[in-house]
């Protein structure tokens, strides 16, 4: 079995394991390449019919292309799409201008809290990967979150031999990370092999493309001529810059990602 098949099988196993344990689950779809791959894998895990909602946290600041892609493939793939916004914060004028930390916390973390409170999910699938950020390298496949959504990274449960954490009293929900073992390059090679559709922002237009996408004001494009998946893979192989180097919330101040994640950020 080659490494992409191995990763695919591992992810499908984990997706099914979490569904068996929790049943009341949702999958968080940012419409980026990773969570789109996750949706694809979930379709495989459940033979084309994903038995739980696909949640999109809409900050209202996402790229237009993201909204178009989301609605098109939600239809084509028969997804039970659920769009959720922190309307109150938006009404009060929350946006990146108020500070990126505050904005991410209100429009993503607090929005997620609202969605979970309304729906009572016991577990949430997220498409995070270990190689994205140093702090994500320390994640478990099944990771409990406390009542205030805090990630207690000092006391993570042991995880061995495909035996994962089940939910205990006092734990708000479990985050399930089926893509943890994938690298950025694995995702792209898999997209190429599977012929997976992907938001066009990742491909170069006029000498620029996005390597990581999210909210329009907080993502910067990189110089690139890669307008196909094949060229993009070649570009990544040659690159010495990290994937999230264009993402503002990873920078701004030291340990910002740790602070965001400790509060329940994805």
């Amino acid at each position: 079995m080659d490494h992409l098949r191995e990763l695919e099988n591992q992810s499908i196993y984990i997706i099914r394991e979490a569904y068996r344990q929790f049943r009341k689950v949702a999958l968080l779809w940012s419409v980026g390449k990773d969570s789109t791959t996750l949706v694809w894998l979930a379709r495989k895990a459940f033979f084309g019919r994903i038995p739980f909602p696909i949640l999109h946290l809409d900050t209202s600041y996402k790229f237009q292309e993201i909204y178009e892609f989301r609605d098109r493939y939600a239809r084509e793939w028969g997804l039970d799409l659920l769009v959720w916004r922190n309307e109150r914060a938006l009404k009060e004028g929350m946006g990146p201008g108020k500070g990126r930390f505050q904005c991410c916390t209100a429009l993503k973390t607090a929005a997620l809290k609202g969605a979970i409170a309304a729906h009572g999910w016991k577990a949430l699938y997220l498409g995070i990967r270990r190689d994205e950020h140093g702090i994500r390298a320390k994640e478990r496949f099944f990771s409990p979150r406390g009542e205030d959504f805090a990630w207690d990274y000092r006391a993570q449960p042991p995880e061995l031999w495909d035996q994962y954490k089940t939910k205990a009293e006092g734990e708000e929900h479990i985050r399930v990370h089926p893509l943890l073992g994938w690298r950025e390059i694995d995702i792209w090679e898999y997209i190429e092999r599977e012929g997976l559709p992907i938001v066009p922002l990742y491909f170069a237009r006029n000498g620029q493309r996005y390597r990581s996408i999210g909210c329009e004001p907080c993502c910067r494009p990189i110089a690139s001529e890669a307008d196909t998946v094949e060229k993009l893979i070649a570009e990544l192989r040659a690159s010495r810059l990290s994937e999230r180097s264009g993402r503002a919330q990873d920078k701004e101040e030291a340990q910002m990602m740790q602070k965001l994640r400790a509060l329940g950020y994805m």
Binding site: M1, D2, H3, R5, E6, N9, Q10, I12, Y13, R16, E17, Y19, R20, R43, K44, A45, F46, F47, G48, R49, P51, R130, D131, H133, G134, I135, A137, K138, R140, Y153, R154, Q156, P157, P158, E159, L160, W161, D162, Q163, K165, T166, K167, A168, G181, R183, S239, R240, L241, S242, E243, S245, A254, Q255, Q258
Partner: protein, 422 residues
């Protein structure tokens, strides 16, 4: 097609694991430049010594950087021309042993690092023992900080003998013992000019020569059922092939009950392959399933294990095991747990603790003990309230290892165990 090998880096605290990781990433060109710069800046801000930025690449938690120690296991990636690696960093501090075990349990091989200026220490011994308990047989020894002992052959030889003896005592034989300096980059990617007396491989060359992990294809079929779905009026049972070959049309026995059934089809999304191999997560539909209890925890096997060259799994209500305690609270004789083995769950009880062993000194602290403490390993006998399908760990890993969960749903994973006798 690229091969992937997962290895864990273990050893005593401060013997240089994080620095070695930084060096491996750096020498293989696997660090993003902006991340290296970020780590350098963080090291400067905290007033850490030069070279500390390597450690900061993986020790990403604020507490880790300020305390200059690794708290939790992390995984990172690098590649050589030969293959791709997943490098699992494991904390060397005794307080974070469960994190070390979490890291090591996911590895195919291990690098044991020992500070040449300080020699074998408590976690060196403990980690070596845990590697052997977890069945990690491919071990490379890296004797680090050779720069601090003047790159002398004598220092290397004496320590190499000591580490070899330690590994032998736990039943391991190292593939290679390599004198290195992670800080100075000696014998990491290329053989060092400073240690001309050393004729062996560099660390990367030794890693490249480790055999790829083999999947148990040539063993009798093991397919533990993970879940069952209803699709278009059809029942599909999903699971992962743990050993052998799953074939369409094959007769199988459903354990622990023992009824016979036939694999009608193998299902993946959009395809129905004729066979599935170890590691593949697939679904099956079953003919002759009327009246059969088929759900999570049942295991599909070959119908006549006795006629096979290798015995199939056993159906048991008790076994002996090496048990590694994962909680500070410890475990007590007679205590009840939820045992989780592959997809099976059963109520289990510690029937006897034949030996209580100190995981660092390997000394038997007590025979017929009443309890196991936080950092101890026990040779125990467990009984289960319902029959389970199991093998000895040495026969098949997937059915030979388990965890014990404490609490109503077994949610607190309190021990990991390896089955030694049925």
């Amino acid at each position: 097609m690229r091969e992937r090998l997962r290895f864990v880096l273990v050893g005593h605290v401060d013997h240089g694991k994080s620095t070695l990781i930084g060096r491996l990433l750096y020498d293989t060109g696997s660090i993003a430049l902006d991340r290296l710069e970020e780590a350098r800046q963080a090291a400067r801000e905290l007033g850490a010594e030069t070279g500390a930025e390597f450690a900061f690449l993986l020790d990403h938690l604020k507490e880790e950087r300020e305390g200059a120690l690794t708290i939790d296991t992390a995984q990172t990636f690098f590649s050589t021309p030969a293959r791709d690696y997943v490098l699992i960093d494991a904390p060397g501090h005794v307080e974070f042993l469960k994190n070390m075990i979490t890291g090591a349990a996911q590895a195919d091989a291990a690098v044991l690092i020992v500070d040449a200026s300080r020699g074998v220490q408590e976690q060196t011994r403990r980690h070596a023992y845990i590697l052997s308990l977890l069945g990690l047989e491919e071990v490379i020894v890296a004797l680090n900080k050779m720069d601090l002992v003047g790159y002398r052959e004598g220092a290397f030889r004496a320590l190499e003998r000591e580490v070899r003896a330690l590994l032998e005592a736990v039943g391991l034989a190292p593939r290679a013992s390599i004198p290195i300096s992670a800080k100075e980059g000696e014998n990491i990617a290329e053989t060092s000019g400073k240690m001309a007396w050393y004729r062996g491989p560099s660390l990367l060359a030794a890693l490249d020569s480790l055999p790829a992990p083999a999947l148990p294809e040539d063993k009798p079929l093991i397919f533990p059922i993970q879940d069952g779905y209803e699709l278009d009026g059809q029942r599909i049972f999903v699971g992962r092939v743990e050993a052998g070959l799953l074939r369409r049309g094959a007769k199988v026995r459903v354990l622990p009950d023992g009824q016979l059934a036939t694999i009608r089809s193998i299902e993946k999304f959009g395809e129905s392959p004729a066979e599935a191999h170890p590691g593949e997560a697939v679904g099956v539909t079953i003919a002759g399933a009327e009246g059969l209890v088929l759900d999570r925890g049942r295991v599909l096997c070959l119908p006549e294990p006795e006629s096979e060259p290798e015995p199939g799994p056993a159906v048991v209500t008790g076994f002996t095991a090496n048990l590694i305690c994962l909680t500070e609270r410890g475990l007590e004789l007679g205590e009840e747990f939820i045992l989780r083995l592959a997809t099976q769950e059963a109520q289990a009880r510690i029937e006897a603790i034949m030996e209580r062993v100190d995981s660092a000194s390997l000394e038997v602290l007590e025979w017929d003990a009443k309890a196991l403490g936080g950092l101890e390993v026990g040779r125990v006998r467990l009984t289960t309230a319902s029959p389970i399908v199991a093998t000895r760990f040495s026969e098949l890993r997937a059915l030979g290892r388990f965890v014990l969960g404490r609490g109503q749903g077994g949610e607190e994973i309190s021990a990991g165990g390896i089955i030694t006798g049925l």
